[in-house]
C-alpha cells in the first residue's frame, strides 16, 4: 500500500515538474526550429522526454486565452461590484428615517437653538448665512483658505514653467533679465487659439455682463438677508469675468484683474477674515463684550461680521474660479 502511494506520488511529482515518462504514441519532434526564442526552447535537462512544466503550460495557456479571460472576468466582476454597491446603498436608504419626521435624530437641541435664537444671536435674517459665517465661521475660513491655497499652487506650478521658458527664449520686448512681475511679456506673444471677432458673443456679453455682475454683488451683499452668500455670489462674479475674458480677450480682463490683483485681494480678504473672526472668537470665549454691533435684523447693515465676511469670501471665490480658468486656458493670469 505504501509502495503504491509512493509510486502515485512520484508520478504526480513528475507530472508537475514536467519530467514524466514518454507516452507510447507520442511523435517526437526531431529538432526544434532554430529561430525559436530562448524561453520557448524545450529544455533537455533530463534525459527523459521533456514535458512542459505546470508553470510553462500555464504561461502558454495564459498567452492564448489570457486577454479574453481577463475581459470576461473584468466585466463580470464590475457588474457584480456595481450590483453589490447598489443593493447596499438601497438597503441603507430603506433603513433611513422618513424625511422631515420630527422624531429624527437630527432634530435635537442644536437645531432648536439655531432656529429659535439664531436671529437675535447672529443678527442675520438668512439663518444659513448665520450658521456658516457665525456659528460655524471657522469651517468657512478653512474652506476659503483651501481654495486660495489651491489657486496659488496652480499659479506657482504653471507660472514656474512659463517663467523658465521665457528665460530661455527672451522675447524682443522684454529685457530678458530677471522676471517682471507685472508685465509678463507683450500680449501679442500669447497664443490665442480661437480669438476671432465674434459679433454675437460680444453683443450678448455687453448686454449680460453688467447684469451678471450686479446679480453677483446683490447675492454677496444681501447674503445675510436673502438666500446666497459669499460662495455663490463669488461664483456668479467669476462667471462674469470668464465671459468677459472670452468675449473681449484676456488682455482686457488682465488690465484690471491680473495675478498681482488676485494675490493682493485674496490675501487681504483672508487676513481680514482671520483677524476679525479671531477677535470675535477671543471675545466670545473669554466672555468679553464685543464691540461689533449686531444691528436690527433685516437691515442691510446688520448681522455683525457676516456682511464683511461674505464680501471676503466672495472676493476669494471669484478670484480663484476665474484664476483656474485663466491659468488652464492661457497658462497665465
Amino acid at each position: 500500500m505504501n509502495e503504491e502511494l509512493r509510486r502515485i506520488w512520484q508520478q504526480f511529482y513528475d507530472w508537475v515538474v514536467g519530467n514524466g515518462p514518454r507516452p507510447e504514441n507520442e511523435v517526437v519532434p526531431e529538432e526544434p526550429p532554430p529561430d525559436l526564442p530562448f524561453a520557448q526552447k524545450p529544455k533537455d535537462k533530463y534525459s527523459r522526454f521533456h514535458e512542459a512544466t505546470l508553470k510553462e503550460r500555464y504561461n502558454q495557456w495564459l498567452e492564448i486565452h489570457g486577454l479574453h479571460l481577463f475581459s470576461v472576468l473584468y466585466s463580470g466582476l464590475s457588474v457584480l461590484t456595481c450590483l453589490v454597491i447598489v443593493s447596499l446603498l438601497l438597503a441603507t436608504v430603506a433603513e433611513l428615517p422618513p424625511f422631515g419626521d420630527e422624531r429624527n435624530p437630527a432634530h435635537n437641541e442644536v437645531i432648536r437653538r439655531y432656529v429659535e435664537h439664531g436671529g437675535h444671536e447672529t443678527g442675520a435674517q438668512n439663518i444659513v448665512a448665520g450658521l456658516i459665517l457665525d456659528y460655524r465661521a471657522f469651517d468657512t475660513f478653512g474652506e476659503s483658505a483651501v481654495l486660495f491655497t489651491a489657486a496659488v499652487s496652480v499659479l506657482m506650478l504653471l507660472g514656474a514653467s512659463r517663467r523658465n521658458s521665457l528665460k530661455d527664449d527672451p522675447s524682443p520686448h522684454s529685457d530678458g533679465e530677471g522676471w517682471d512681475f507685472l508685465n509678463r511679456g507683450p500680449p501679442a506673444l500669447r497664443h490665442h487659439v480661437f480669438r476671432q471677432d465674434d459679433a454675437i458673443l460680444r453683443g450678448v456679453a455687453t448686454l449680460s455682463i453688467p447684469v451678471i455682475i450686479m446679480m453677483g454683488c446683490v447675492v454677496v451683499i444681501n447674503g445675510h438677508l436673502s438666500p446666497g452668500g459669499g460662495f455663490s455670489g463669488g461664483a456668479i462674479l467669476s462667471t462674469a469675468l470668464i465671459l468677459a475674458a472670452n468675449a473681449y480677450g484676456f488682455e482686457r480682463v488682465h488690465s484690471f484683474f491680473n495675478e498681482r490683483t488676485f494675490i493682493v485681494s485674496s490675501s487681504t480678504a483672508l487676513m481680514i477674515y482671520a483677524l476679525s473672526k479671531g477677535y470675535s472668537f477671543f471675545t466670545g470665549a473669554n466672555h468679553i463684550h464685543s464691540i461689533i454691533p449686531k444691528g436690527t435684523v433685516g437691515d442691510i447693515l446688520s448681522g455683525g461680521l457676516i456682511l464683511p465676511l461674505n464680501i471676503c469670501v466672495g472676493l476669494i471665490v471669484a478670484g480663484t474660479l476665474y484664476g483656474f480658468y485663466a491659468l488652464f486656458s492661457e497658462g497665465d493670469m
Partner: protein, 85 residues
C-alpha cells in the same frame, strides 16, 4: 405640483444615464449642464434656495466652462478642431 416634481426627477435620471451613454463628449457636457440646471430647480422645490443658487452658479456655470476648457485642450470640442488638423 407633485407631477412636476416627478417629471423633473425623471429628467434627472434620463440625463444621468444619457451622460454616460453619449458618445460625443461635447454632448455629455451639455447634458450634464442641463442636469445641474434641473437640479437647481429641484433644490428650490425642496425649499433650499441657498443650494439652488450655488448649484446654478457652480454646477451649471463654472464646472461646465472648465469641462469645455478641458475638451478644447484635448481637441475633442467638435468638428472645428478636426478641420484645423
Amino acid at each position: 405640483m407633485i407631477i412636476v416634481e416627478w417629471l423633473l426627477l425623471l429628467f434627472l435620471i434620463v440625463c444621468a444615464v444619457a451622460v454616460s451613454i453619449s458618445k460625443n463628449l461635447l454632448n455629455s457636457v451639455i447634458i450634464f449642464m442641463s442636469y445641474s440646471l434641473v437640479m437647481a430647480v429641484i433644490w428650490v422645490l425642496l425649499r433650499s434656495p441657498d443650494l439652488a443658487i450655488t448649484e446654478a452658479a457652480v454646477g451649471a456655470g463654472v464646472t461646465s466652462v472648465l469641462f469645455f476648457l478641458a475638451l478644447r485642450k484635448i481637441g475633442r470640442m467638435g468638428h472645428k478642431d478636426k478641420e484645423e488638423k
